[in-house]
Symmetry: C2
Subunit: 388 residues, 2 copies
Amino acid sequence: MLQELCDLTSAMPDRIENLDTPCLLLDPERLDANVDRLRKRLLDRGVGFRPHLKTAKSVEVAKRVMPTASGPATVSTLKEAEVFAGAGVTDLIYAVGIAPSKLGRIVRLRRAGVDIAVVLDSPEQARAVCDASRAADIRIPALIEVDCDGHRSGLLPDDRRNLVAIGKMLNEGAELRGVLTHAGDSYNARGIVECQAHAERERAAAVVAAGILRANGLPCAVVSVGSTPTALYGPDYSGVTEVRAGVFMFFDLVQAGVGDCAIDEIALSVLSTVIGHQRDRGWTIIDAGWMAMSRDRGTAGQAVDQGYGVVCDLEGRPYPDQIVIQANQEHGIVARRPGSVAATLELPVGAKVRILPNHACATAAQHEAYVLVREGSVHGCWPRFGGW
Amino acid sequence: MLQELCDLTSAMPDRIENLDTPCLLLDPERLDANVDRLRKRLLDRGVGFRPHLKTAKSVEVAKRVMPTASGPATVSTLKEAEVFAGAGVTDLIYAVGIAPSKLGRIVRLRRAGVDIAVVLDSPEQARAVCDASRAADIRIPALIEVDCDGHRSGLLPDDRRNLVAIGKMLNEGAELRGVLTHAGDSYNARGIVECQAHAERERAAAVVAAGILRANGLPCAVVSVGSTPTALYGPDYSGVTEVRAGVFMFFDLVQAGVGDCAIDEIALSVLSTVIGHQRDRGWTIIDAGWMAMSRDRGTAGQAVDQGYGVVCDLEGRPYPDQIVIQANQEHGIVARRPGSVAATLELPVGAKVRILPNHACATAAQHEAYVLVREGSVHGCWPRFGGW
């Protein structure tokens, strides 16, 4: 229903309580405040800002988040690259290791005038990028991925042999644009001091790798780092040219657990309706299950486990210690946080609540649109997309 | 890309290895075999079959699964009800507790000739159904939900007071169609004997509640039970009129862990490309992360934890002890199962693999289409939908 409604905003209810549920709500004032916070921080530090659009997958959100209407931006799929390119974004990094079979779509984007760069960490990938560049008679720009924390992909920052071998191949047969790293492990941080340590490790890894390339006569125009915690708390970006981050735009319970946002800065929530009770067990049943919230349980390993989400009233204020303790496909079970002495939630069938998500990227991905809300009123609808 | 390709099947590659990744694959021969197995079983036992279409959310799959082109079928959202009604399905149960605000869409479906029934477990909901029936001058049929295993919603089977109170309200002001229960806890079963015990408990709960209604002079035409494990192994359906199940059509690793299917009966997999390695750690990085697999970790609590999925070759044969041990949004990390002495997977960048999912409903929900494959070849594309 929502996608059609986005095309016909006049048909939307004007109050939250009249929306069909479950439904994804976005508070654009919080979005703007979150974007301003990071943008100003990076501007003050004289480092570039390349927001990651995978969190939003929405042209309207992208326009509010990017430094300019044409970018720069980061994407995690070629579908994102193609949709945002279609909306006028011309400066992109596809920040997932490139597969040779995806280079055809990269070439098509570049021929359409989009400066999209790829990421890689092996000589095989560099060879494929050089082959595709030669075949298309263009130079595909590539960044060498560096592993700063053992999180997943990337060369070790001091892997001189591979850095130089890949760098030389790219410099000759494609375009060596620089290095890129992502402190994925920073999501496990607790508190600002740990975020700062992750940020410094991330920065150092990228700068060391860039130094090796330059010491070997290779260019390294771009030194790209980023994750939401390290973007918000990095003490120093010396040697870094740009910072990437995505979740910061919406924030979520995992980030609140890390300590880089407050609960009332979370811009995203899922509207849900009470559909039953099991009063003997203190349960309220709602129509937001894992299909609406996602299966993400990112707070399970944090100091405060938020279940499948924190339950709020229609204005977005959390009820004391009420969380979604369990989720089936289209059912959520709301109860007191284990160990809490808060009162049981007393809401009748038909009442509506808002649920704050563990992980904004995962929850948003379950929905086809953002309904824009300010306090209790509805202000519009922005479609989002999925797929690859 | 895939949705467009579904409209233009001639443009699809004819070999799996030429598909863009990640991408959801469906083996229609396995689907048909899985459907035949359950259909024959229930036919032999003289009980009705009302497949749950939430697993597939695809008109083409529904046509293969339902007893007839017009149903019967079960749905978990009104969007499903509306899409399947648009495709000619006229016999539906919306098997999630009804919210009063959803009755407008129920009335519209019924006025369009769709016999859709709702489910409820409280006098408040029964009152709302009666009110909506009176306002629309129709009789909305409702089933009273019964809780057979403490899983989530429903009245206790022997809750005479509420059963009779709700039954009388519906009988007078709407239509009391019967009772419904779901042995959600059967997903925690291990082996056939436990599945049989869950099935018998599920049957008994529904039959007891139906008996209470009838003993009080109330009608109970429908006695509806079901879940994949209890549908496949119920020893007896005496007193039951119909069985519901959804996952059985595709199966998945959770069901293999329960013991109600073999690995080579799983009809669904995600095609993925190798995009890198961390050879020191024995890792192969693929482009299927949680966005492609979902965050479902349903096997985590089973005897064999399958991580985010079992890694197979292009023909769908599992590599020994290779699983997706970790997933980020668009990255999966493949490694040996912890404790295994199997050889490390040796596949170059660009190679493709197929990943069997933990939970078919959750993984399919991450995709916009099913690509139909038999062994290594591509035979078409069926779109699927999401939303509410």
